[in-house]
Symmetry: C2
Subunit: 339 residues, 2 copies
């Protein structure tokens, strides 16, 4: 099959690799209907995370089940499925509490999904089938459910976005933008997107943002306070993962409010005294997307939400290198790859 | 009147000071029925917090209203009241959300309570009257409601202690011990007190601890995991405020679990990446004791709980210096002062 492999910083190649096969009786093989590049793929692409050997890329996936191991019960060949970036058994105590990303049997969610095929471990716990074969135009939205929508949703949930609440969103990447969508869908009264890019501002407004704040850092915090009677937002979604963005999120939250942080933490060290006196709730981490998948699939297939709009560039799989470049240079918010 | 003043590190004196008077129409003057020394008073006592000028000490108080300003409506002279260490209006949006410690009109709760009299600002929002004059033997317990019980209760609430949950408590000072009581009262199934001191272990067991762990740091975390099927506690109360205790608390909590931290943060810097991958909820800070006061007074006056047992030494106010020494040297868990 053809698959995307990262050989080193900025060295993405699409090359021939062996077709994946069932290795464990709990595995499934998926023929990918669509793939995409994640903001977190840019960390190793840029050399910020070390790449010690050629790495098959991609962890977001939708597609048709090609084959299953002998122990797989809940999905079968021919079904269209959405999976998540961690494989989980979905039966342990941690999974049942909704934290499948911390499943006691957790494994990487697939063997690389910027490819024609991928192998998914713990298929029963990890994959959710759609009701029948989805219309082709729903596939981008279903793909977002695999990670960026699920992550934005978790952030909104962790930030307790809901009726009567004002939500601020730090970060205008795909996760932040879908955090806007999630916050509105969860009933938030007001959603303030923090963005200085016209194309992303437009998407934020499409997804339901009621206000745009272009300032960052201390000035951004001051603007959020201005917009909230001096108190700060009830809920803040942090979708970047830097020291500046985390402090911006904490400082933009009112005492007793909630910060949902999902930007993969890279250089963050939180000052304890400031956190103590802030009085905020802090929750986040790798999103347990599996918890939300059934609901997200339902919202997408019923055409209640249209998160697929976050893909502003579509390329054939063979042009994966250009997909990485476009996202790295911020020419695209998120790129869909057609296998 | 006689009042306790800190002049410098380890220099506590009881001396004559002017009686406090009503300065604002929202003030009340309280004749103290009992006072006490707080663990947090030991920071300036030990020189860890700077003392730039002689400081009247004490922020925990119960007593009888002596006089009120012209705007005070909810308490009147002769009533027995319990107050909190921050004065709050209890009407602003932040107060109504239960975060009176962050009231937009917040002030210090009193002008020093290790004394015969103290002035309390924003009396309507800050003070709660007991139903009639309490029996003398209830006064120590009512005094704990003013801070250490209220703080332990907030920590247990922030850690979501409740039915079916296992709670671990880091810190065996008065707040940690009353966190044990709070967790049990909130319905926790199992409460693990972390303590290596026999007298505090006994109090923890009296307050409802089901298990004692004497190990600290990494070994303490390993013991908590052993006791919880390898997963960690659902809820962890942090009542120390150091880097070691915060990391111990976070690491002893299962993914998706809750850390309630109330130890005043002194040298803490939380590693973002570890916090991200921990998947815990973090909430804490200065406890909004006022939120819980009516319920705590009810539990005490109905003799449902007996938090006053945390006082293991009682001294006349004149011996305040000895009270500080006893707590500094850990000869006493908490000292009650009789004005």
């Amino acid at each position: 099959m053809r698959a995307t492999v990262l050989h080193g910083p900025r060295d993405v190649r699409v090359e021939d690799r062996p077709d994946p096969t069932v290795e464990q009786p709990t595995d499934a093989i998926i023929r990918l209907a669509a793939a995409c590049v994640c903001g977190s793929d840019l960390w190793p692409y840029r050399g910020a995370d070390a790449v010690s050997e050629p790495a098959p890329m991609g962890h977001e996936y939708v597609g048709v089940v090609e084959e299953v191991g002998s122990d797989v019960r809940t999905v079968k060949p021919g079904q269209f499925v959405v999976g998540t970036f961690f494989a989980s058994d979905n039966t342990c105590e941690i999974c049942r509490a909704g934290y499948q990303t911390h499943c006691v049997n957790r494994q990487p969610g697939c063997t690389g999904s910027q490819a024609q095929y991928t192998r998914v471990p713990l298929a029963d716990g990890t994959l959710v089938a759609t009701p029948g074969q989805p219309d082709a135009d729903l596939i981008p939205s279903l793909l977002t459910a695999s990670d960026v929508l699920g992550t934005g949703w978790f952030a909104a949930d962790a930030a307790q976005a809901g009726p009567g609440r004002t939500v601020a969103v730090v970060g205008d990447g795909a996760v932040g933008l879908l955090g806007v969508l999630a916050a509105r869908q969860l009933g938030a009264e007001r959603v303030i997107a923090m963005s200085r890019h016209a194309d992303r501002q437009k998407l934020a407004l499409d997804f339901g943002a009621t206000d745009i704040v272009t300032e960052r850092g201390g000035e951004g915090v001051a603007r959020i306070k201005d917009l909230t009677g001096g108190l700060g937002a009830h809920s803040v979604i942090e979708a970047v993962g830097t020291q500046e963005s985390m402090l911006q999120a904490i400082r933009a939250t009112r005492a007793g409010g909630h910060v949902g942080f999902v930007g993969v933490s890279h250089d963050v060290s939180l000052p304890g005294r400031e956190l103590f006196y802030s009085g905020v709730h802090l929750h986040g981490g790798p999103a347990p997307v599996r918890r939300f998948l059934p609901e997200l699939i339902d919202l997408i297939t019923s055409r209640t939400i249209d998160p697929g709009k976050v893909f502003d560039l579509t390329l054939p799989l063979e042009q994966a290198a250009e997909a990485y470049r476009a996202m790295d240079e911020r020419r695209a918010v998120k790129v869909l790859l057609q296998p």
